[in-house]
């Protein structure tokens, strides 16, 4: 569905381009196309271009443009928008060691859904996910959508510390924690892949609009890839 972009003022130097109202993987090529068109047409006059699910936030260099001028330039950039093949994003394969010792909610999810642990893993690996947005932490990609049967609400009490590389699920989204941090997602496994590297060109592995496929690996392969097998403590019971 071709979106009709709306421009909304969100700050004295920032506009939101609103393309859609709801989350849908089919929207991402459009969001990415809009992001690329804005970067191309506004150049250095756009200080930040931040795509996210249904929108693109654009921060203007107000020493170059007024907000009114920016609106005109943005409308021109978005005119005749159409996603190109390149706007399907890069496909990444992420090897994951799915195991209750590093993904304590794996058994909980199996119990909730009435599936075996193997079936939960198989289904998590069965789809390619879209990266909707990067946020929460550098390189943290919000991805989806996982199938309904795997959808699991966030933990009532977030963990104080989630290990780097942890793969999690919250509702119908999935993500990988790039670095140790607090977090409330249901953990199901761990990857040795580095998602954020200050020395890497472009810094993050994922970009908004990319696609991600998870591949199950065994412990030996995970260790050979440099994975950390230190067990993840289970989540605390809420109110305890």
């Amino acid at each position: 569905m071709t979106p009709r972009p709306r421009l909304e003022t969100v700050a004295f130097d920032s506009l939101i381009v609103r393309l859609f109202d709801a989350i849908d993987e089919a929207h991402m090529p459009w969001v990415l196309a809009a992001t690329n068109a804005i970067r191309q047409r506004l150049g250095d006059a756009a200080l930040e271009v931040v795509p996210s699910y249904t929108t693109v936030l654009v921060q203007i260099d107000i020493q170059r443009l007024s907000l009114a001028e920016a609106r005109t330039r943005l409308m021109a950039a978005l005119d005749g928008l159409s996603p190109q093949a390149a706007e399907q994003g890069t496909l990444h394969e992420i090897p994951v060691w799915y195991d209750p010792s590093v993904g304590p909610e794996l058994t909980l999810m199996a119990r909730r859904s009435g599936m075996t642990v193997e079936e939960v893993v198989r289904r998590h690996c069965a789809r390619d996910y879209s990266v909707f947005a990067l946020g929460f932490a550098p390189g943290y990609g919000f991805m989806g959508l996982v199938e309904e049967a795997l959808a699991t609400p966030r933990l009532e009490t977030p963990r104080q510390k989630v290990a780097a590389g942890s793969v999690g699920i919250a509702d119908r989204q999935t993500a990988v924690y790039p670095a140790p941090s607090p977090g409330g997602w249901n953990l199901i496994g761990r990857t040795a892949v580095k998602l954020f590297d200050r020395e890497r060109e472009g810094y993050t592995l994922f970009k908004p609009g990319d696609r991600v496929r998870f591949v199950a690996i065994d412990r030996a392969t995970f260790e050979a890839q440099g994975g950390d097998t230190t067990p993840q403590p289970p989540a605390e019971e809420s109110g305890a």
Binding site: E8, T9, V10, A11, L47, E48, P51, L57, L67, T204
Partner: protein, 308 residues
């Protein structure tokens, strides 16, 4: 030429203009909370307004000059003393080798800024020296940690003359001299989703700055705001965004905010208003004043022109 940290206090950070062009990677802005004060401190030494300096929150920082060095001070009055002699913000001064600069406690405002000749030396991480503790980026070690005792803060330039000019106290610090402090706000797109009473209250009642205030966000307390939107699909958040979570108490998102979020917003404070807010202690009363983007832009450009 360096300053040795003898005591770091609760939070002293290396800050500059922050990280740009990286928000889409989930990397926060960071940088000086009161960018106006950092700009003036740098101006006193002839540095670019965004050159890296030190942001001292509350006080407790004690520095010793390892060689003669020129520094400049702006922002909060944290009862700074050079070997016991009171130093008001808004001036450049020389520290002779062995002399001690101490920030004691908040006398007016919350965050003081110290500029060094040419700025603080160090390796930029993703284009900035700013220390963001949560992300582990920037600062003296590149890993984001605040200053600790034993650190050496090096100046980039070997020598600098003191700018003979001093700043009027009203320029040197934006700290509130009367309450309620007026904060300029540009209305945002979700403004209409709040009910009429709430909108009236939002702009007419006084809000109180809560204890829960840090570099990510500053909470305000007051009569609860109600609206028909409870949450939205997460989207990029500008500096100063005034978000209203379901408890109806606004949170102003500051330099170290998360890059995307999904609560409805009244709009966003102007960067000048953010700088003023950064100087407020908990308990300070504030009110919002709606301004047009054009008016906010003019004021902003006027501020930048002061340093040209």
């Amino acid at each position: 030429m360096s300053l040795k940290v003898e005591r770091a206090g609760p939070m002293a950070l290396v800050v500059d203009g922050g990280r740009g062009g990286v928000r889409h990677l989930g990397v926060t802005q960071g940088g000086a909370m009161d960018w106006v004060a950092l700009g003036w401190a740098n101006w006193l030494l002839g540095n670019a307004p965004e050159a890296a300096g030190l942001e001292v929150m509350v006080g407790g920082l004690e520095l010793v000059a390892e060689a003669d060095i020129c520094v400049a001070l702006a922002g909060a009055d944290l009862a700074a003393r050079r070997d016991g002699e009171a130093i008001a913000p808004g001036q450049a001064l020389t520290l002779k080798q062995g002399q001690r600069l101490v920030f004691e406690r908040p006398s007016k405002g919350l965050r003081a800024y110290l500029a060094l000749p040419g700025g603080v030396a160090g390796e930029a991480v993703m284009g900035s020296l700013s220390s963001t503790v949560r992300e582990g980026l920037g600062g003296l070690d590149g890993l984001g940690r605040p200053l600790v005792a034993g650190d050496r803060v090096e100046a980039k330039a070997p020598h600098q003359r003191v700018n003979a000019r001093a700043l009027a106290p009203s320029v040197a610090t934006l700290a509130a001299s009367s309450e309620p402090l007026e904060l300029a706000l540009v209305a945002g797109a979700q403004l209409a989703s709040f009910d009429g009473h709430s909108l009236y209250r939002a702009f007419n009642q006084h809000w109180t700055i809560d204890q829960r205030a840090d570099r990510m966000g500053i909470r305000l307390t007051g009569a609860r705001l109600e609206g028909r939107m409870k949450g939205m699909v997460s989207e990029g958040i500008p500096l100063g965004a005034v978000q209203v979570p379901p408890d109806g108490q606004p949170i102003i998102l500051m330099n170290d905010r998360q890059t995307i979020g999904g609560y409805p917003r009244l709009g966003a404070l102007t960067p000048l208003a953010c700088a003023r807010l950064a100087q407020c202690l908990p308990g300070t009363r504030v009110r919002f004043k709606a301004v047009s983007p054009e008016c906010a832009r003019r004021e902003h450009l006027n501020q930048l022109a002061c340093w040209e």
